[in-house]
């Protein structure tokens, strides 16, 4: 799924919004996350995951082909950790996922 497909999906579920508005909303979410990370802040979205930044110190690398030494400047890299909920959801057995709703109904009828 790419951004435009996501926007389309959301717009279909919200007929009162223009596609342009939905795109604006998606972009403001991504922008908020980006600027938070640029500020050195963490972004935690329960049930999805957490974004943070890690600092990389400057170091001396080597061009693997020529063996030449290269100075590598320090930088900040973004990092992401999936949430426990997402981890569980990705690793649920297909039968278990389907069982979730029927078991509730069974409990009611019993």
């Amino acid at each position: 799924m790419i951004k435009s497909e996501l926007v389309l999906k959301i717009a279909e579920q919200n007929p009162h919004l223009y596609q342009r508005d939905v795109e604006n909303i998606v972009n403001s979410i991504l922008n908020e996350i980006t600027s938070a990370l640029a500020n050195g802040d963490r972004v935690e979205l329960r049930g999805f995951g957490a974004f943070s930044t890690k600092k990389r110190e400057p170091r001396i690398g080597r061009n693997p082909r020529t063996g030449e030494q290269v100075d590598i400047t320090g930088k900040v890299v973004p990092s992401f950790k999936q949430s426990k909920d997402m981890k569980a959801r990705l690793n649920m057995e297909p039968e278990k996922v389907q069982k979730k709703t029927p078991s509730k109904e069974r409990a009611k009828s019993a």
């Binding site: 790419i2 996350i33 938070a36 890299v77």
Partner: protein, 104 residues
């Protein structure tokens, strides 16, 4: 510098401030967007958000691991994990660089 944690509430506020919708509706839309992304990922689909990054589901095979505390060997079961690959635009913005791609 004080490092704070941005949460869903901040995203609601960001959407509310930029788009002319009510607070309730802004919050509902943020939730819907996150839900749609999660649903796509749960099916194993990759989600690519241009100028931000991609969320990819990787399947890991079984391998032998070790309990770091006791040193006892234990098998690590095959699993699916979600990884994030940041785009060059995101990496540049985090390092305070401007990219031509991002005008506004």
């Amino acid at each position: 510098m004080s490092s704070r944690t941005i949460t869903r509430a901040d995203l609601y506020e960001a959407v509310y401030a930029r788009v002319g919708l009510s607070r309730t509706e802004s919050a509902a839309l943020v939730e819907l967007i996150i839900k749609e992304i999660c649903d796509a990922l749960a099916t194993g689909e990759t989600v690519k958000l241009s100028s931000f990054g991609s969320f990819i589901i990787r399947s890991k095979t079984e391998r032998m691991g070790r309990n770091p505390k006791t040193g006892v060997e234990a098998p690590i079961t095959p699993r699916r994990v979600m990884v994030f690959k940041p785009s060059n635009v995101l990496k540049a913005r985090i390092n305070g660089l401007t990219v031509e791609d991002e005008e506004e």
